[in-house]
């Protein structure tokens, strides 16, 4: 049950009296974090479409990786701007008309196309609950919101193969244990032809690019909609995908 998970920036008035470092924060003891890790891991394995469990697993296991990401962001001028300005990617903040009017090949137009083709929305990301530091919680949230943009940058659709490819890239880039787990377990659900494609071309490409690319969280995407996609890829040091994947068969296991 994912109930109504809002990830608004403002505090939900009902829970403002709870002692939390940020709206939606739930204080947990180490024992509870361990239980959550085990429980969410089992739940996510049983039902991979329980994105909230994947999110919780990421939060309980990602502390060191988040610290590392924060350092990288602080050392990068654009990343530092993001940490201070705290932009959010949501339908309410995106100017969809403007983006639709941009030329083909521009980052904004391609992102919009990605959202339409795969029938996803940037508002479907779970809020952060179990990270016990306000800045790290923002970085986690930013990572989730940038995920869709990564799909666009890498040219990967949201089917299983595309998701696994993006996970390999993210695992190499961020070092989040949840990404590594998804990267290892995701392929178990692929059929043999896709597995072959993954191991021979997509996988190595994703890993290599993940390692050599600039930190994807350090880009202020909201100010780069007009930039051409190719240009942005070059700036980030990402090669275009070796295989063009279609978005037509969504959620294919």
């Amino acid at each position: 049950v994912r109930a109504h998970r809002l990830h608004t920036g403002s505090a939900e008035p009902t829970y403002s009296c709870y002692d939390g470092l940020y709206p939606g924060h739930i204080q947990t003891t180490s024992f509870q974090k361990v239980l959550l890790t085990v429980g969410s891991g089992v739940a996510a394995l049983q039902d991979p479409y329980r994105h909230d469990m994947v999110a919780v697993l990421g939060e309980t296991t990602g502390h060191l990786a988040l610290l590392n990401l924060r350092d990288r962001m602080r050392n990068d001028p654009e990343g530092y701007t993001i940490l201070t300005e705290r932009p959010r990617i949501r339908l309410s903040t995106l100017d969809l008309e403007l983006m639709a009017s941009l030329p083909d090949g521009s980052f904004g137009r391609e992102y919009l196309r990605f959202l339409e083709d795969n029938k996803v929305t940037p508002d479907s990301r779970a809020e952060v609950k179990f990270v016990d530091n306000e800045e790290l919680a923002y970085i986690m949230l930013r990572y989730r919101e940038v995920h869709d943009l990564l799909h666009t940058l890498l040219g990967m659709p949201t089917n299983m193969l595309g998701e696994v490819a993006v996970k390999w890239f993210e695992a190499a880039q961020t070092g989040l244990p949840m990404c590594a787990l998804g990267a290892v377990l995701g392929p178990l659900r692929l059929n043999s032809s896709r597995l072959e494609s993954l191991f021979t071309s997509l996988g190595p490409w994703a890993l290599q690019n993940g390692r050599r690319a600039r930190c994807v969280l350090c880009i202020f995407y909201e100010r780069r909609w007009e930039q051409s996609l190719e240009d942005l890829r070059q700036e980030l040091n990402i090669e275009p995908p070796p295989v063009i994947l279609r978005a037509s068969n969504k959620r294919n296991t």
């Binding site: 049950v1 709870y18 739930i26 003891t29 959550l36 739940a43 919780v56």
Partner: protein, 326 residues
């Protein structure tokens, strides 16, 4: 409107005959001067001024009802699974013991308040059907030595079974929906009705039911005294009030284990199974805010019930309170 006025007048009359305890004094008697078209407005203003507890938080009374509704709306789909997970299946034993203590006979009318997903009502129907089968078997058994003609004359009439009925009343439509789905999947087509209603203001006439049960629901009611008074009203004279609720554990070792389990494990289970930490945090906190066995017994007696008793299960984790309207 008329119903709430009647309620008010009756309550005033009853309370003038009995000593008012500190709990009952919370109800604002200044509304005595507000009888008339403005009485409902008077009462609702009063509700916003007064505060109560929502778990460990303090909220206005009007807000509590809304938030409790939201909690159960969120957890309805996973309610039964969560009960099994949290209590490791023991809640089924507690409910079975309630039925055995109740020992309903065929023809009884049960009102299951806060009955939500129907656990008590389904058990009630099973129990009375079983009792009915036993009675039939005994009746046919006693006619074994008669002639065939006499036996066929004495066969219990199949077309007039004693009709036992359970009414499940809950304020939350989502919980009732889940209950109805369960009834359908269990193949129960008659004997249960599903009614949306507030325990503090039941949509039934006086003296209607033989048994009133409220299992794990009364601690979520904003004005427990009002719910008890309503229970008294709708029961027939001789009717029985039964309440199953989480209560105080007296043994200190068990109490600390229980607390640790409640606060450490249950919200995690809520997050993993139902995707809702906060609702289960509320549930374990609301248990701590509920009065203990003796205090609750006093509240039941104040509502007019006699022969009030309580039985502790699992060391006091759950208590069954029972009283009669005489």
């Amino acid at each position: 409107m008329a119903a709430s006025l009647r309620l008010l007048v009756r309550r005033l009359a009853r309370l003038s005959h009995r000593s008012i305890t500190s709990a009952a004094a919370n109800v604002s008697w200044r509304s005595g001067c507000c009888l008339g078209p403005s009485s409902s407005r008077c009462l609702s203003d009063a509700a916003e001024d007064r505060s109560t507890h929502f778990g460990f938080e303090t909220v206005s009374e009007a807000e509590k009802a809304k938030r409790v509704y939201k909690v159960f709306e969120n957890v309805a789909q996973k309610y039964d699974i969560m009960n099994d997970a949290m209590s490791l299946g023991v809640h089924r034993l507690w409910k079975d013991i309630l039925l055995h203590a109740m020992h309903p006979q065929p023809g009884a009318r049960l009102l299951d308040v806060a009955g939500g997903t129907g656990d008590i009502s389904f058990r009630f129907l099973d129990y009375v059907n079983y009792q009915q089968e036993r009675q039939k078997r005994r009746a046919t058994g006693s006619s074994q030595s008669l002639s065939w003609q006499d036996i066929s004359d004495k066969y219990p009439e199949e077309d007039r079974p004693q009709e036992s009925r359970a009414v499940v009343c809950d304020i939350n439509k989502e919980m009732l929906k889940v209950g109805k789905q369960r009834a359908d999947s269990m193949g129960i087509i008659s004997g249960v009705s599903w009614v949306v209603g507030d325990a503090e203001e039941l949509p039934f006439d006086d003296d209607q039911f033989d048994i009133y049960t409220i299992a794990f629901g009364i601690r979520n009611v904003t004005h427990i005294n009002q719910a008890l008074l309503e229970a008294f009203r709708v029961l027939k004279p001789g009717g029985r009030f039964m309440c199953l609720e989480f209560s105080k554990v007296t043994n200190p070792v068990l109490a600390s284990l229980y607390d640790a389990y409640s606060f450490q494990v249950i919200p995690v289970l809520g997050e993993v199974i139902a995707g809702d930490w906060k609702s289960y945090q509320y549930l374990v906190e609301s248990i701590r805010k509920f009065p203990d066995q003796e205090e609750f017994k006093g509240m039941i007696e104040d509502a007019g019930f006699c022969c009030v008793q309580y039985f502790n299960f699992t060391g006091g984790v759950v208590a069954l309170h029972s009283g009669f309207k005489l």
